[in-house]
């Protein structure tokens, strides 16, 4: 197991560099430069050219690629062109709110979606199953921006019980952590419902179909024949086997924690990485695009590794030697 993990981590390095190479190449192909959108009418072409030179845009992209990798090894991801400060600091400014929102909504989806999926599968074609199925289809098909605006209209404008925008009340001067936490929870309530609904629905569907498949297996019939209680059969024998595909899903969910909330962040005016990466792309802020995407790539690789390790824990038949 230990050897396997080390081998996997070593394999990740060339894959990661490959991803970065492709990223650099694609960015290079995109028309426009960070200077293109500096539209101050008083700026002369010479001054624009000087800025391009200072940003190092005149060196060939493969040279920039090698330099960037070298610097990144030392933990320096460069300077964000728009923010005029180090990329890591910019990411640090925005990563907190995004993670908070994503984790809360992931928590909702796992805690509601998986149990609901199990119930739905064990009571196939029952009233509850039909109800949950309809609910999950609504959840999957309702667009986040529409659902978000609907909630805002009802609960922030018509009945004003939730705030319209933001992560916390800036005029709230309190050192009491409980008061601050309550304020943030109050602000995050609607956005996490919007973000959570969609993933809840998909977790529910995955769990249901995975459970249905397992329940029909011979060993479940054997377990029942042994006279085990129905609860033990479902939760100890069936669920453990059904959970493997869900682990894969969770593994791939890790990078989504950082990038999956753009729409929700935009509608609820939350500061987040999703919004800032769209902005960076539109303004060709190369260092920030690369910084965010390399972190995402890293998380995707780690997510896949974690999923593989979890397989072994969930399923004793899987061994890595």
């Amino acid at each position: 197991m230990k050897n396997y993990i080390i081998r996997r981590i070593l394999q990740m390095i060339p894959v990661f560099i490959g991803i970065l190479f492709i990223l650099f190449f694609i960015l290079e192909q995109a028309p426009g430069t960070p200077v293109s959108n500096m539209m101050d009418p008083k700026m002369t072409p010479e001054q624009k050219a000087e800025l391009a030179e200072k940003l190092g845009l005149n060196t060939p992209w493969y040279e920039r690629f090698v330099n960037w990798i070298g610097e990144a090894m030392k933990g320096n991801l460069g300077y964000s062109i728009k923010h005029k400060k180090p990329v890591l600091e910019v990411i640090g400014d925005y990563i907190g709110p995004t993670l908070l929102l994503s984790l809360v909504s992931l928590g909702i989806s796992v805690l509601i979606g998986i149990p609901a999926g199990v119930i739905s599968a064990t009571k196939q074609y029952s009233l509850i199953d039909n109800f949950l199925t309809i609910f999950s289809f609504i959840g999957i098909s309702i667009p986040a921006f529409f659902f978000g605006l609907l909630l805002l209209k009802n609960f922030a404008v018509d009945i004003q019980i939730f705030p319209l925008f933001g992560l916390r009340d800036p005029l709230l001067n309190s050192d009491n952590m409980f008061v601050l936490a309550k304020d943030i929870a109050w602000h995050l309530f609607l956005p996490s419902i919007v973000l959570g609904l969609q993933s809840t629905a998909s977790f529910m569907r995955y769990t249901r179909s995975s459970m249905l498949e397992v329940i029909k297996q011979d060993y479940i019939r054997t377990a029942r024949a042994k006279g085990l209680k129905e609860k033990t059969v479902i939760y100890r024998h069936a669920f453990r086997n059904a959970v493997i595909p869900i682990i894969t899903l969770l593994g791939f969910w890790i990078p989504l924690l950082l990038s999956g909330a753009v729409t929700t962040e935009t509608i609820f005016g939350l500061p987040g990485l999703g919004k800032i990466s769209v902005e960076a792309t539109l303004t060709r802020n190369y260092p920030l695009i690369l910084g965010i995407n390399s972190i995402l790539a890293m998380l995707t690789l780690i997510g896949a590794l974690v999923a593989d390790i979890l397989y072994a824990i969930a399923d004793p038949r899987i061994r890595y030697d």
């Binding site: 728009k82 400060k85 925008f165 309190s174």
Partner: protein
């Protein structure tokens, strides 16, 4: 029974959930919380009542007068810093920190600082601070957008390239007096606009490396009406009243300003629910109607200082003939476009490349508005030699009339306009190909490209003007037809350039107005760039806010000292 189980499961899930959300944020040790403490925020709420709340989005965090590169950071910067001069509601320059005189040869501006100016930390401002601010813009490492404020001064190149330790054009005469000298031949009335940027305290901003200087972008310190409290990226900026303001007669009458990032979709709802005091929704008749229907809000509606334009690549064979360009304009129903896109009364048809609010704007009756007239358009096309073919398209020497139009989707109006053109130009016999892309791609294929490689027939964009009408360096300047220059049309006209030069250096406003009238008439006929529309700007302002009188040349920061809040 089943339902009961389901219900209890749901309840458990919700309870676990609330626990989870609670845990996620409680990172520091528990503090004792008595019921009394919980009520604390409610007690503090009335305090927020004298805080002016602005809602917008798009702050970049460059709160520095020489670095800020968008209007939102500018707002913040200008509440904290003060410039030597700035304009009044009519667009006339007036002294803010300093009175000034201009030498006989119009090249040297001598500023005398007013008495008693202090930064918010109590340090008196001297001309050393003024010199420091302008030397910083000329610094070799400077990477902000204000280089033009010093690049016309005498000795800029020597100082900027480190060839010389001193900047010849900037002379500190004494603690209160400083002079700026422009290069020979650069005298122009617009030069005064170089002095509208906030003065930074030298003792606070002095730096070893450029990174040290940039690091202070998020901790600004100046002499203005507000001081900086805090910034949460993409959430809010808090400014406090500068109680030590140097001019006791003009101290702010409000306790502070809170600028929140509000999504565009929610801006009017936020005004309606009193969560913000004022904001600028995009100017459409729909938004205007919604604002006017709110009891707690009044509306400010004024002409913006800028225009939207369309550029023809006049080096393309099919667009080099002025008749063809005019035909295309006659075949474009801009009045309907304005009605559809902005709503009546919120925009007007563009004619001259000058804002209608400027003293330099010519009499509209002398200009051609190119009213929609397909017949006339057809005649002009025939005259230019483009004959209608059997397939409904026009041909000349066997070539079909085909143009592409680069449309960016970052804002909706180019899409609307090109959509309408696709219909009416088709009737004229023109094959239009609309290419959708983002703003940067349009800029890179038009203005950024080398003159021979500009890859477009038509593109559209918006342009913001400064107060002075001088068009040097902008869309109609022959010399701006270079890589990175604003003129992508390739159109050159020596006569018009002569007028631009004369207008730039003329100090008599009446004579200048005559010159610009001549120039505007030429451009209105030749239309290498067409001015599409002049647009209004609308603001919704809560009725509790008094003294905010907005106009084309007067924004809320300029009114700040007069603003009061009545509850």
């Amino acid at each position: 029974m089943k339902l009961k189980k389901l219900l209890s499961l749901f309840l458990v899930a919700i309870m676990v959930l609330t626990l989870f959300t609670g845990c996620a944020k409680e990172t520091t040790p528990e503090t004792p919380n008595t019921p009394g403490e919980q009520e604390q925020p409610k007690e503090e709420e009335p305090k927020g009542d004298k805080i002016l709340k602005l809602g917008n989005s798009g702050h970049g965090g460059l709160f520095n007068p020489i670095m800020s590169d968008n209007v939102y950071d500018d707002y913040v910067t200008r509440t904290i810093f003060e410039p030597l001069v700035y304009n009044d509601p009519e667009g006339e320059m007036i002294p803010i920190l300093a009175e000034w005189t201009l030498s006989e040869d119009n090249l040297t501006y001598t500023f005398t600082l007013k008495d008693g100016i202090k930064f918010s930390d109590g340090t008196p401002m001297t001309t050393a601070d003024v010199e420091f601010t302008y030397l910083t813009i000329a610094h070799p490492d400077y990477n902000g957008p204000r280089a033009y404020a010093v690049s016309s001064l005498l000795g800029y190149e020597d100082y900027h390239s480190k060839a010389k330790e001193t900047f010849d054009g900037i002379k500190v005469i004494d603690e209160k007096t400083i002079s700026f000298t422009f290069k020979d031949g650069m005298a122009a009335p617009a030069n005064i606009e170089c002095f509208i940027y906030g003065i930074m305290p030298k003792h606070y901003y002095e730096f070893e490396t450029w990174e040290d200087f940039l690091a202070l972008n998020e901790q600004p310190l100046g002499s203005g009406l507000m001081t900086f409290d805090s910034w949460e990226p993409k959430q809010f900026i808090k400014l406090n009243k500068n109680a030590n303001y140097w001019d006791p007669a003009n101290v702010a009458q409000i306790d502070g300003v809170l600028i929140s990032e509000v999504p565009d979709e929610s801006i009017i709802s936020a005004l309606q629910t009193n969560q913000i005091d004022f904001a600028q929704p995009s100017a459409s008749s729909e938004n205007l109607q919604m604002l006017e229907s709110l009891d707690n809000i009044h509306v400010a509606n004024y002409l913006g200082n800028g225009y939207t334009f369309m550029c023809f690549n006049t080096l393309r064979p099919q667009l080099s003939d002025v008749k063809v360009r005019q035909a295309l304009m006659y075949a474009l129903d801009r009045k309907s476009f304005i009605k559809a896109q902005y709503g009546e009364g919120l925009a007007s048809v563009g004619m001259a490349p000058i804002s209608p609010s400027s003293w330099a704007f010519p009499d509209a009756s002398e200009l051609n508005a190119y009213d929609f007239d397909l017949e006339k358009a057809g005649q002009l096309m025939d005259e230019a030699g483009w004959a209608m073919g059997d397939d409904g398209f026009r041909y000349k020497n066997g070539e079909k009339f085909h143009v592409n139009w680069l449309v960016y989707t970052d804002s909706p109006w180019p899409g609307t306009l090109s959509g309408m053109a696709a219909d009416t130009w088709k009737q004229l016999g023109v094959e239009l190909e609309v290419e959708l892309m983002d703003f940067d791609t349009v800029a890179s294929r038009t203005m950024d490209a080398e003159p021979g490689e500009k890859d477009f027939d038509i593109y559209t964009m918006g342009f913001t003007l400064s107060i002075d009408p001088d068009p040097t360096g902008a869309l109609f300047d022959d010399n701006a037809f270079v890589a990175g220059g604003f003129n992508a049309s390739g159109y050159k006209n020596a006569e018009a350039m002569e007028l631009v030069k004369k207008g730039k250096t003329e100090f008599d406003t009446a004579k200048r107005a005559e010159i610009y009238k001549e120039w505007a008439k030429i451009m209105n006929y030749e239309i290498p760039h067409v001015i599409i529309a002049y647009r209004s700007e609308i603001w919704g302002i809560n009725n509790r806010v008094k003294g905010m009188e907005l106009g084309t040349y007067f924004d809320w920061v300029q009114c700040l000292k007069d603003i009061t809040i009545e509850n």
